[in-house]
């Protein structure tokens, strides 16, 4: 059974209380259509489980098959440096057909980011290193494709359907 080996820290992108009893970690790729579909499931879980759930997103861009995955991950990280990680994250998943460099800049403008800083940050060694570190941690934890979810520290096998993720998190059949 594959286990999450990189603990959640304050530098992670997280929604919910760090003390929440249920923890869901996703390793995802903004250009992966399955991750786009899983985003809707995550949103529903956040609604249904409310303050009981902490959700963390980490990057796992499959850059060889998805040419825009890495720039999109860098765009989300760069937006994060202007406190707009989640708005950019949602926008990218809602617009998976608009991930080319021009579109990424349009997203930054739409979120009213400082675009000069956004462009610089997206290319910066810090952002590149962070994405690489996410990938290495994911590899170490048994990420076997995208999306890969860990529920309370254990890899969820069998897909990202709502019922499967909810059961893995709560131990209950829903």
């Amino acid at each position: 059974m594959a286990q999450l080996r990189v603990p959640i820290t304050s530098t992670d992108h997280a929604i919910g209380s760090p003390d929440a009893p249920l923890v869901l970690v996703e390793y995802g790729d903004y250009q992966c259509p399955f991750c786009g579909a899983a985003q809707l499931v995550v949103k529903q879980l956040l609604i249904d489980l409310r303050s009981n759930l902490l959700f963390v997103f980490r990057n796992f861009p499959l850059a060889e098959v998805h040419p825009f995955a890495f720039p999109a991950a860098a765009a989300a990280e760069a937006a994060g440096l202007q406190s707009h990680f989640w708005p950019m994250h949602d926008r990218l998943f809602e617009n998976q057909h608009l991930l080319d460099p021009g579109s990424l800049l349009d997203h930054a403008r739409a979120l009213r980011l400082n675009t000069a800083r956004f462009l610089t940050d997206a290319q910066s060694p810090n952002v590149q290193r962070r994405i690489a570190a996410d990938m290495e941690g994911g590899a170490r934890s048994g990420v076997n494709g995208t999306p890969t979810f860990f529920a309370n520290g254990v890899r969820v096998d069998g897909g990202y359907a709502y019922e499967n993720l909810a059961a893995a998190l709560t131990g209950l059949r829903v």
Binding site: E64, R140, G142, N144, G145
Partner: protein, 156 residues
Amino acid sequence: MSLLPEGTKAPEFTLSLAPDQKVSLADCRGRNTVLVFYPADWSPVCGDQLAVYNELLPLFRGHDAEIVAISVDSVWCHAAFARDRKIHFPLLADFEPKGAVAKAYGAYRDQDGFAERALFVIDPAGIIRWSYLSPLGVNPGADVILDALQSLKAKV
């Protein structure tokens, strides 16, 4: 059929990499080889096992290891698949006689004629140092391989 265990000499093979090019296990001597048996090209998910290994090649190379993948698909099928998925490691065709190498490693599925999802780490001297059969339907991540390579390094 069960996988050849740790400590066994890895069975020699020569398989086609391309229509005019063959690769032997002997060509891999001197480095660690991660031998990946997998059922078939064109798996229906985009983030599949080989795509993940493909992204993580620098991590494997950091352990002085090269990936070699084998299925029963033909060279033409492998060529199209590797081009489509931009795979940067060899996909070998265990095509004729079908599955002979998979059988030699105990990684052939008589019930449906595919190779298992089986992993082997072969050391620079050609000895199997680790093997792993993934449960049906569970894609093995890279973690099990990286752990095996790590512990191999610790033993040297």
